[in-house]
């Protein structure tokens, strides 16, 4: 690990479509990738809905940005952490989520316990919610 790199965590807590924050937060992750920091992206609370399978915003003439999450591994974001407790609270399981394949075909979408997420969060240099 390069000690000059900063650990930057993006925390997504909002449902998609009702507001634009989810979409514009993803734009920041993509734009920030050029700086090659140590980035993690977290989906917490209603943020887990952003990764839900089968979104079809075209029905309301809105942009489907859920497909863009698939590009994150190309931008060196190798983990999309999903807070497991948030999933359970919403009656969802990993099967309800889109897959984000890495180059080696493994899935970047990774469930994380609240305890582990809490520790990971605490180690960050920058934590961003939008």
């Amino acid at each position: 690990m390069d000690s000059l790199k900063k650990r930057i965590m993006y925390v997504n807590r909002r449902a998609p479509y009702g507001t634009v924050y989810a979409l514009e937060a993803l734009d920041v992750v993509l734009a920030g990738a050029v700086f090659e920091q140590e980035v993690s992206v977290v989906f917490l609370d209603d943020g887990v809905y952003q990764l839900r399978r089968g979104q079809n915003p075209a029905v309301l003439n809105m942009k489907d940005f859920s497909k863009t999450f698939g590009a994150l591994p190309d931008f060196d974001v190798m983990y999309l952490y999903v807070d497991e407790e948030s999933l359970v609270q919403r009656g969802m399981t990993a099967r309800d989520l889109i897959e984000v394949p890495r180059e080696d075909d493994t899935d970047a979408v990774t469930l994380i316990s609240s305890t582990d997420l809490s520790s990971l969060m605490d180690q960050q240099d920058v934590v961003l919610q939008f």
């Binding site: 479509y17 009702g18 507001t19 634009v20 309301l60 003439n61 809105m62 942009k63």
Partner: protein, 130 residues
Amino acid sequence: MKFNILVNEGPYTHQASDSAYQFAKAAVNAGHEVIRVFFYHDGVYNANRLSAPSVDDRDVVNQWVRFADEYEIDLAVCVTASLKRGILSDQSALRYGKNVDNIEKKFQVAGVGYFIEGSIIADRTIVFGD
């Protein structure tokens, strides 16, 4: 039946303007009359003719303008709410010493009493907000 519609949030950031548009279209399609769409709070940003959304997204301002043209709908923005947010008619621009205006001409500028008047004339008033 006569509908009076209030939009309290700006385009893109909240779904309110999209929802109001979908509702207004459905009302007209069902043979009802939309007597007025009033834009209040951040809703006044829907009248900003400088909006330049990306080509793969909907154009919220233009959507309202085309709808108003097609069905002769009265679009109005609140003068007080729009002044502080910098949405100016040519007259307001002149009066407040700004060298340009930015309001889409299809929107008239009115006091918020015009909305209340609408709610008295109309059979139903529907509010869309945050």
